[in-house]
């Protein structure tokens, strides 16, 4: 299945957001996630299923003003 991960089109076997986080080796507690523009809490990642063309954002703290 093809999805967008942080703006890049990728092929993935992940069925849920949690699978995707693990597949890409993100530190689970150090990132925040959104799918198709909606926030997905950490506790809901396991039940958040991904579908073709999903837009996934995985964000972390960054310098800001």
């Amino acid at each position: 299945m093809r999805i967008d991960l942080n703006g890049a089109s990728i092929e993935t076997r992940a069925r849920t957001l949690q699978d995707l986080i693990e597949e890409h080796g993100f530190a689970d507690a150090a990132v925040a996630t959104a799918v198709n523009g909606s926030f997905i809490p950490r506790t809901a990642r396991g039940t958040a299923t991904l579908s073709e063309g999903a837009r996934v954002e995985v964000l972390s703290p960054m310098q800001g003003g």
Partner: protein
């Protein structure tokens, strides 16, 4: 005072654009700031080192929604920030204009309402417009952050009279001058006018010596606050001699 939190330092410092992580760390310490702003961006390789700086600083984190142009973007970003930083504080930016980075007041008020209803403590980046300020208060904001000048411009308090009016109009609302400050004298002027705090970033990060400039801003903000508390003398149009005339010799 800021959502129930009393701060000793009235300077809030941004964490972007420093020449190195080490300089950022030292600048935070030198400024005396107890609140630092951070953002959320796509996970890269430098995340760990930055997280460590945040932890070591001992500062309270004020995440921002910088770069957001719509209510939805800002609300989603705020929700992500709350989970990541474990704080209900959010510096709400909804940008309305690409060149001036002026906030979009309509989207700002709507996002503020959604977020306060969701339990956030919203610090809205706004203009000096009184009606927008009132709408933000009605939406549940307990702090307002009017701009001094466009973000990163270093122009200081561009609409000083309007800011003075805003200070008078909201006597009991903590007001933070956010953005546009370029020099410690400008930050001090804001504090002398009775603003509760100043939030800045570029003026420190882009100084020749950011650590030295952080120290200068910390001192300026403290001096301005002390001066405000001490009560400034009123301005006069004409001179009035400070040395007494009584006892003056006749030498003419």
């Amino acid at each position: 005072m800021f959502y129930g939190t009393d701060l000793k330092s009235r300077l809030m410092l941004g964490t972007a654009q420093y020449p190195s992580p080490q300089v950022l760390r030292e600048a935070i310490a030198a400024s005396g700031a107890e609140v630092i702003t951070v953002s959320l961006r796509r996970e890269g390789s430098e995340g760990d080192a930055f997280r460590e700086i945040l932890r070591q600083s001992g500062c309270r984190i004020l995440p921002n929604t910088a770069g957001c142009h719509s209510v939805r973007e800002a609300v989603t970003t705020a929700q992500m920030a709350r989970e990541l930083f474990g704080t209900s504080w959010i510096k709400l930016e909804v940008i309305g204009h690409a060149d001036t980075l002026q906030p979009d007041p309509f989207a700002l008020v709507e996002a503020a309402r959604i977020l306060t209803e969701d339990g956030f403590d919203v610090f809205p980046y706004t203009t000096e417009d009184l009606i927008v300020g009132e709408r933000l208060i009605e939406a549940g904001c307990r702090v307002l952050m009017p701009w001094g000048a466009p973000i990163g411009s270093g122009q200081g308090l561009r609409h000083r009279d309007a800011l003075r009016t805003m200070r008078a109009h909201f006597p009991d609302v903590p007001l933070v001058i956010d953005a546009g400050i370029g020099a410690p004298s400008q930050a001090m002027a804001a504090m002398e006018m009775g603003f509760d705090a100043v939030l800045l970033n570029t003026a420190v990060a882009k100084a020749l010596d950011p650590v030295g400039m952080a120290r200068a801003f910390g001192a300026a903000v403290e001096a301005g606050r002390t001066a405000h508390d001490a009560g400034l003398m009123p301005c006069r149009d004409m001179a009035t001699a400070s040395t007494p005339v009584f006892g003056m010799a006749e030498l003419a």
